[in-house]
Symmetry: D2
Subunit: 341 residues, 4 copies
C-alpha cells in the first residue's frame, strides 16, 4: 500500500545504523557525556557558524518544545504562538502542564506576521489591567510551519526586531528544518537563522534519525542548570550516545542536507501530479508537505488505496488532506501514485 502519511514512517538513514554497529561496544559515560555527543555538538556549531553555541540533544518535538519553553519563561509569562502552532493545538497541553499559557495570535498559512505580533504585544502593554494578565514572554514559530510554508529572511528579521524590542526570546521549532533549508524557496541559511533567534532546534526525527532534536542556543545562552531541568522534565536519556551518534552522522559530509533534498524533489513531483489531475491545493507549500482539498467521498476512496493524513474539515462536504514526503520517499512510489490517480 502506498503511503504518503508522514515523514516519520521509516527507520533511520542507513549510515546511522552503520554507526550504531561500529561503535556499539565502546564504553562511554552516560547522559551525553560521551565523545560522540561532543563531536556532534562541535559539528553543529560549525554548521551554524556559532562557535559559542550551547547544543543539547533531546528526543522528540513535544518534549523539546515544552522543555525549552518552560525553562526560558518566567512564571508570569506565557509563550506567543500562532493559533495553528503545534504547541497551541497538538501537544495535549504539554506547555500548560508546565504552568504556562500559550498566547495565540492569528496566523496566515501557518505564519505569524511581524506587524500582527507587534500589535498584539503593544495592545497587551496598553491594557490598564496587564498586571492581571499573562505577560508575552517569548515567541514560538516553526520553520517550516505546520502548513509547510516558510518564513523569508526579511520576515524573520522583522519578527526578531519585535522580539528584541519587547525582550521576548524567539524560539524556532525546526522539527522539519532540513526540509525548509534545502527548499529552493528558502532564502535563509542555517547560520543566518541562528543569528535571527535565541534558540532553535534542528529536527532529526523527521529528517533521517530514529529520534532526536538538536537544540541550539546560538550565543551560549542556555539557561543555567539546564541539564537539571531536562532531567526534571523526564527529557534525559541515560545512553546519550543514541542521540550523539545520530547527529554526528547527520552532520558529517553534509548528510542532513543531502537527504533532506530527496523530500523536496519528490514533493515537487507529487505537486506536479496532483496539479495535472486537477486537485485543488489548500495552500502553496514549498517544502515536503502538500495540502489539498478533496470531497469527503474522494478522501474515503483514497484512504482505501493509500495512506494520507486527515488535516481538518474544510466544510461539511470537503476535507483537507496532506501528502507528505521525506528523506526516505522513493520516486518509484511517487510514480506509482501518478499511475494510480
Amino acid at each position: 500500500m502506498l503511503s504518503f502519511e508522514n515523514d516519520y514512517s521509516e527507520g533511520a538513514h542507513e549510515k546511522i545504523l552503520q554507526a550504531f554497529l561500529e561503535t556499539n561496544m565502546e564504553k562511554t559515560s552516560g547522559y551525553g557525556n560521551d565523545p560522540f555527543t561532543e563531536s556532534a555538538k562541535e559539528k553543529i556549531r560549525t554548521a551554524c557558524e556559532c562557535p559559542d553555541a550551547d547544543v543539547y540533544f533531546l528526543t522528540g518535538g513535544t518534549q523539546t518544545n515544552k522543555t525549552i519553553i518552560a525553562t526560558m519563561l518566567q512564571p508570569y509569562q506565557g509563550v506567543v504562538a500562532a493559533t495553528s502552532g503545534h504547541v497551541s493545538v497538538h501537544e495535549a497541553g504539554a506547555i500548560e502542564f508546565t504552568g504556562h499559557k500559550v498566547l495565540t495570535v492569528p496566523a496566515e498559512e501557518g505564519k505569524i506576521r511581524a506587524d500582527v505580533l507587534q500589535q498584539f504585544v503593544a495592545d497587551f502593554y496598553a491594557d490598564g489591567n496587564y498586571e492581571h494578565m499573562v505577560f508575552p514572554g517569548m515567541v514560538y514559530i516553526s520553520q517550516p510551519t505546520e502548513y509547510g510554508t516558510l518564513y523569508s529572511k526579511a520576515e524573520l528579521e522583522q519578527i526578531y526586531e519585535v522580539c528584541k524590542a519587547y525582550e521576548m526570546p524567539l524560539f524556532i521549532d525546526g522539527a522539519r528544518l532540513g526540509y525548509g533549508l534545502v527548499s529552493p524557496a528558502c532564502d535563509v541559511t542555517l547560520p543566518e537563522l541562528a543569528k535571527l533567534c535565541d534558540v532553535f532546534y534542528i529536527g532529526g526525527t523527521k529528517v533521517g534519525a530514529l529520534c532526536g532534536e538538536a537544540v541550539v542556543f546560538p550565543r551560549g545562552n542556555m539557561p543555567k542548570h539546564f541539564v537539571t531541568m531536562v532531567k526534571q522534565h523526564g527529557s534525559m536519556i541515560a545512553k546519550g550516545r543514541l542521540l550523539g551518534i545520530q547527529f554526528d552522522v547527520l552532520f558529517t559530509d553534509n548528510l542532513y542536507f543531502e537527504i533532506a533534498k530527496n523530500a523536496i524533489t519528490t514533493a515537487e513531483r507529487v505537486k506536479e501530479i496532483l496539479k495535472e489531475k486537477g486537485y485543488q491545493f489548500y495552500l502553496d507549500s514549498p517544502t515536503n508537505q502538500i495540502f489539498v482539498v478533496v470531497e469527503n467521498a474522494k478522501y474515503a476512496e483514497l484512504s482505501k488505496q493509500m495512506k494520507v493524513s486527515f488535516i481538518e474539515k474544510a466544510d461539511d462536504n470537503h476535507t483537507v488532506i496532506r501528502f507528505c514526503t521525506s528523506w526516505a520517499t522513493k520516486m518509484e512510489d511517487v510514480e506509482a501514485l501518478a499511475a494510480f490517480l
Copy 2:
C-alpha cells in the same frame, strides 16, 4: 470625586460589620468548622432548594475559579470558556498554573452559544488526532457575563444539554450572581440555576461582603477530599468564621437579593442619563455594568472628573469604558453624574 469604577469600592454591608462585632469574642474552631459557617451553608442550601448541596466558602473570584477547575478536571482535560471569559484573560494564567489549558470558543456579548459549543466539541472528537489534543473537560460560563449580559433559562438549558451529552460538568461563575438574579431581564431563579449546572458560586466580594464566594455543588457532588485540595491551593483561611458570618448575614431575610437590587436601580438610571446625553452603548447590559464607547479625548476628560474603568480600545480613536454600580451606590451620586454630564 465621583466613582463608578467597580463594584468592590466600599467595605461591607453594615449588618455584616454588626455581626462581626456581636460574635467577635465567641471561640470557634478553625477552617470553617464553626457554627456560623454551618448556619450559612444551611441557609444557602435552602435558598437554592438543594438540600443535598455541598457548600464551601472561598475568598475571591480567581481563587475560586482555579480551585474549582483544577479539582474537577482530569489531567488530560482543559476548561472550555468564552474568549472573553475571566479565566481566559484576566487571571494571570491561574488556570494554566494548575496545569490545565483554557480552550476558548468565540463569544457574543460575553456569552457562549450552545450551538457553537456543540460544534466545538463535535469538531474535537471528529479530529483524527484528538488523542494529541486537550480534551474539553468542563465548561465555564459567567452569569452575568463579564459584559453584564445574561443567559436566559432556555440558553442555560441548551448549554447544559451539550455539557451532559459530552460529560462535561458545567461551572457557572457567579461573581456578580446577585446582580443577575435580581435584574428584571433575568428569567432564571437561583433554584433553577442550581439545577442547570454542576457547580456555581454566589459572589460575595462584589455583592456586599468584604470578601468571599459561596461555592455550591448542588447535588452533593463536591470532589473527594476537596478540603485538602483547597488547602493545597492556598485557598483556605484559618478563621473560616470570616466567611461564614458574612454569608450567614447575607442569606438572612433575603439580604443578598435586597441589596443587589440597588445596583440595578442605580444602573438603570445611569443608562437613562447616558442615553439622554447621547452616549453610544457598546452593548445592552441588563445588570450593573454599563459599557459605552467614547472618543479617547472624552475618556481623558471624564477621567479627570470621575473614576470609570477602561475596558478596551474600540479603535485608534475610541475607547470602551465602563460605568459600574453596586449594592452601595447612592442615587445622589448618580444624580450628581447627571448634573455633571
Copy 3:
C-alpha cells in the same frame, strides 16, 4: 467550655472592627491600591526600620508560604526546611503543587541548626550527581517555630551566614512573629530580624486580625512582577482594604506588640499551673504554645472538659497535646483551668 485549642479562635481586635466601621463607605480602588494599604505599608517599614522594604499583604499562612517560595525559587531548586516545618508537613503539598520539592533537614525542638544546614548543603555539592538532584535554593524557618521555640539572634546570624555563602535566600515564617518578639526569651528585635533574612512575614491571623499576613522584602527585593504571580496563585483579594485596614490598625501605637504580650502573660501562667499539677512538658517553649505529654486516658478525659490540640502520638500510651494562648485569652479562663485541673 474552656478552650486552649489554638490562637485563631476569636475574631479580631476590637480596634480593627472599629476601623472597619469608620471607613466602611469610603470608596477606594481595589487590589491593594488604596490609602489604608499604603499607610499600613509605611508603618511596617518604620517598625522594621527598613525604609526601602517592599511590603505586600496576603491572606493566610499556607498561601503566603507557597506564594513566596514559588516566586523566589528557580525551577531546579527546592526549599530547605525542618522535617517539622509547616511547609513540610501540614500544607497538603502546597509547595509541591507549585512544582518544588521541600528538602528536609533534621530539626531540634523545631529549629534547624546552622551547622546541620551547612553540612546538608555541603554534602549536596559534594555529591558527584548533584546535577540530577534538586538544588537547595532557599531556606525556610519559622520564628517562633511550630513548637513555640525561638531562634536566638546568634543562631539567626549563623544560619544567615550559611544562606549567604550558598546564595540561598532566607525566608522566615512569622505566622506567630508577634508572640516571639515580645517573649522575654527573645533577644532579637523586629529591625534586627529584618536584617537577618531576605523575606519574612508578620502574622496577623494569629495575632489579632481576622486574616492577613504582612510579607516584608526588607531591601526592596520583591520578585519582579510579584503582583501578577500573586494573582496567578489565587492569592489576591479584590478589596485589598480588608488587609490594609487591619495592619494599619495593628501597627498604630504599637498595638500589634501590646496585644501579643497577653498571650505570653497567660501562657506563663498556664505553664505555672501545669508545672504545679505535675504535668510533663514535651519541651520548654517560651512563647504562646505549651506542649505536654499525657497518658492517652488523661487526654481523653481532658477533651471532654476543654478544647486542647492533639499534636502527635508520643508512644502507644502517651500523647503530645498543646495548650495555646493568644492576644484574646482571658486570665479568668486560665484561672478556671487551674481550678479545674
Copy 4:
C-alpha cells in the same frame, strides 16, 4: 581503561541492531501504532502471563516514573517511597514538578519494610490533621533496589497487602528488573511479580536496549486516556517502532533473561575478587551492583585506573563506591580487574 561505572555504558544487544537493519525501510504509522510494537506488547503479555495487561513503551527511567506516578495519583495524594528511592533523590524533582510530594519512609538496604509502611500509613490516618496533609496515594519500590537488593516474594506479598488495605496502588520500578529476576537469590518470577503490584516496568535501557522501558498494567488497568497524558508529559516518541522493535527482540527466545544472566555471573566474580582482596562490602547485593567502602585515598587511586561510581560519603575518611556489571560486561575485563587489584 577498565570500566565498571554503570550498566548503560555500551550500545544495544547486537540482535536489536540487526532488527533495526532488517526492518528499517518498512513504513509504519507513528506513536506506537506499528506492528513491531504490537508484537512486543503481546510477547510481554505472554511472558507476564497477563493476557489482559496494558503494555506501553516509554524511553527512560525518570520519564517513566514521573509519567506513571502523575497519571495514577489524585491531586491530594503523594507517592510513598524509600528515603533512598530513585524518585526521592536522583530525579531532579521530576515528581514534584508534576505537583506531587514524595512521602519518604526509612529504608533498610534500599528496601521498605511492610510493617514500617503499615505504621507510616496508620499514623497518617491517626493524625487529627490529616486533611491538611498529603495523602499516601501509591507506593513506589524498586526491584532490585537502588542498592542492588531484592524483595523476596513474601516481602512483596506483605507490602502489597498493606497497599490493598489502604487502597494505594503498588508501583514497582524495574529499571534493572532483568538483573533481579535472574539472580539466584530471587524467589519471585515475572508472572508472580505481575500479580503482586498494580503497575511495573521492565527496564530496557540497562538491560540490552539503547533506550526503553516497558510499562505493564497487569490487569488492563492503564489510566484512562493514558496516551494523551504521555504526550502531555513529553514522553511520547514519533517513531514508536524504536521501542517496539527493541522489546520485540528482547522478548523473543527469552533473550532479555539470557543476557541478564551475564551481569550476574560477572558480578559474582567481581565480588569474589573483592572479597579476596579484603575489600569491605557496604552491603550484600545479590544482583549486578556491588558496593564497597574504601578509604578516600584508595578511591582516588582507583579512579585513576578505572571507572567506578561514587555513591556517597561513608564518613570523613571513607567513600562508598560501586562496581557495576551488565549484559555487556566481558569476563576478561573482570579478570583484568583481578589482575590489577
